[in-house]
């Protein structure tokens, strides 16, 4: 039986889609069968981040309305044969589907896939309700900014009210140098406010911008963000992975002895 995980945040622009793409790809690299669902109807972009935009024929709304079978709408990833994307419709809006329909869709996919990742739209309206409807777990993405943390808090409250069984926190775009100067909240500060379990801390990394633009997820690559996303994927599979030491500088000796603190 597959697991349905929703990636959500409340605030926009904190990295939901990037997290979905990278964690999903990471799970596929761990040889799990994964499907990513873009629930941001009308503002789709998970397909762009995955570099699969040119392959879209059918979309989520087509599946829900019965214009095609699920199989027809699923797009196989370029690199990983066990990774699929169900793209969102661009010409429709959030009210085209209901939470019940989304739940039914997710349950149908459970038989075939190990992980079903829902990329949630920003906000707390219909799109959010659709995305969380069928989910067993939620990954709440936040950046260490007060506005994002405030929205994450509201989202966690709503998830609790909707009886979400497990909620995990991803602190994205952390800048260790700013934390040290006292100009940015640390992941511990964020944790103290939100009081939910941390599943990953992703450092701010310009490679993410490059990878997003190129449509190739960074996960698994030799960058801090790539490693952090891989760790989240591994933790989702139940593996115990120690948190990255983000203070590390690539020192000569570190490289020489192959010492890895991640």
């Amino acid at each position: 039986m597959g697991e349905v995980i929703v990636v959500t945040s409340g605030k926009g622009g904190v990295g939901k889609t990037t997290t979905t793409a990278n964690v999903g790809t990471g799970l596929a690299m761990l040889e799990k069968k994964v499907v990513l669902i873009d629930t941001d109807i009308g503002l789709r972009n998970l397909d762009v981040v995955m570099g699969l935009e040119n392959r879209i024929v059918y979309n989520l709304v087509d599946v829900i309305e019965g214009n095609c079978r699920i199989r027809n709408a699923l797009i196989k990833d370029k690199r990983y044969p066990n990774l699929y994307l169900l793209p969102s419709a661009q010409t429709r809006d959030k009210n085209s589907v209901t939470p019940e329909q989304m739940k039914k869709l997710a349950d149908e996919l459970r038989d075939e896939f190990d992980y079903i990742l829902m990329d949630c739209p920003a906000g707390i309206e219909q799109g959010f309700k659709n995305a969380i409807a069928g989910a067993d777990k939620a990954l709440v993405v936040t950046t260490p900014e007060v506005s994002a943390v405030r929205d994450a808090d509201r989202i966690i409250g709503l998830l609790e009210a909707n009886e979400m069984e497990e909620t995990y926190l991803v602190v994205n775009r952390l800048r260790m140098d700013m934390v040290k100067r006292g100009d940015m909240m640390s992941s511990d500060d964020v944790m103290e406010i939100l009081a939910v379990d941390l599943i990953g801390v992703v450092p701010d990394d310009e490679n993410i911008v490059i990878s997003t633009n190129q449509g190739e997820p960074l996960v698994g690559s030799d960058s801090q963000a790539g490693r952090a996303y891989m760790n989240i994927a591994r933790r989702l599979t139940g593996e115990e992975v120690p948190f990255l030491d983000l203070n590390e500088r690539s020192s000569f000796f570190g490289k020489l002895f192959g010492k890895r603190k991640y």
Binding site: D151, D153, G157, L158, I193, A195
Partner: protein, 224 residues
């Protein structure tokens, strides 16, 4: 001679009852009549909270106590206080009863366990102890006091019906706003640097809300 039935008369208003007693009758005989009278009307009063006053006869403290015992035995109503005869009875009744009830409210409270997250709003009829944090964007309203065993970062409104003795206590006091009765205080625009995290109390004095560390002196000044 008056008829026996009129030896004890129960008069009532919204906030209490007046018992008019025959001044000439023997007290023991009167007691029986009182018991009878209240038994008859116990259904009417049910378990109302009332103030009581006696008229027509001077009663010693012991006699008064006897009568209250009889009322207690024969009805379910609760006599909150006894008021001496006074021309402004109803007004006095009201004032005394409401004050008494407010005190009772302050002495009772309830517990709430959990984190109040942004968007949550809880209202309580009496004092409340919150075991958990009140985050930014959340709101607690209480007619009595608010005690937060955690950090208070959202809004707290104590004494919502105008009780100026209400207070707010938090282990980590950094609220967005605190209201007590009809006074509002907001947090400073710039965060206080190196503020120590300690239990603090917010209370109302001379129309201003003060926040002070919870020490013995402050605790001694609390009026419930």
């Amino acid at each position: 001679m008056k008829s026996v039935n009129n030896s004890v008369i129960i008069k009532g208003n919204k906030y209490g009852i007046i018992v008019v007693l025959n001044p000439d009758m023997a007290f023991d005989e009167l007691k029986e009549l009182i018991a009878e009278k209240f038994k008859e009307s116990s259904k009417f009063f049910e378990n109302a909270k009332m103030a009581i006053s006696f008229e027509g006869r001077y009663l010693s403290n012991e006699e008064q106590k006897d009568i209250l015992d009889i009322i207690g035995k024969n009805t379910d109503m609760q006599i909150v206080c006894v008021i001496d005869n006074d021309p402004k009875k109803e007004e006095l009744f009201q004032k005394t009863l409401e004050q008494k009830l407010m005190e009772l409210d302050n002495n009772t409270g309830q517990f709430y366990k959990g984190i109040l997250r942004s968007g949550a709003s809880l209202e309580f009829e009496n004092s409340v102890v919150i075991i958990g944090d009140v985050n930014n964007g959340a709101r607690v309203v209480s007619k009595g006091n608010i005690i937060v065993l955690g950090s208070l970062k959202g809004n707290a409104f104590a004494g919502a019906t105008g009780n100026t003795n209400a207070f707010v206590v938090a282990l980590d006091m950094s609220p967005t706003q605190i209201r007590i009765a009809d006074v509002i205080a907001r947090s400073p625009d710039k965060p206080v640097k190196d503020a120590v995290k300690e239990a603090k109390i917010a209370f109302l004095e001379d129309g201003n809300i003060y926040i002070e560390p919870l020490n013995k002196n402050v605790l001694n000044d609390i009026r419930l």
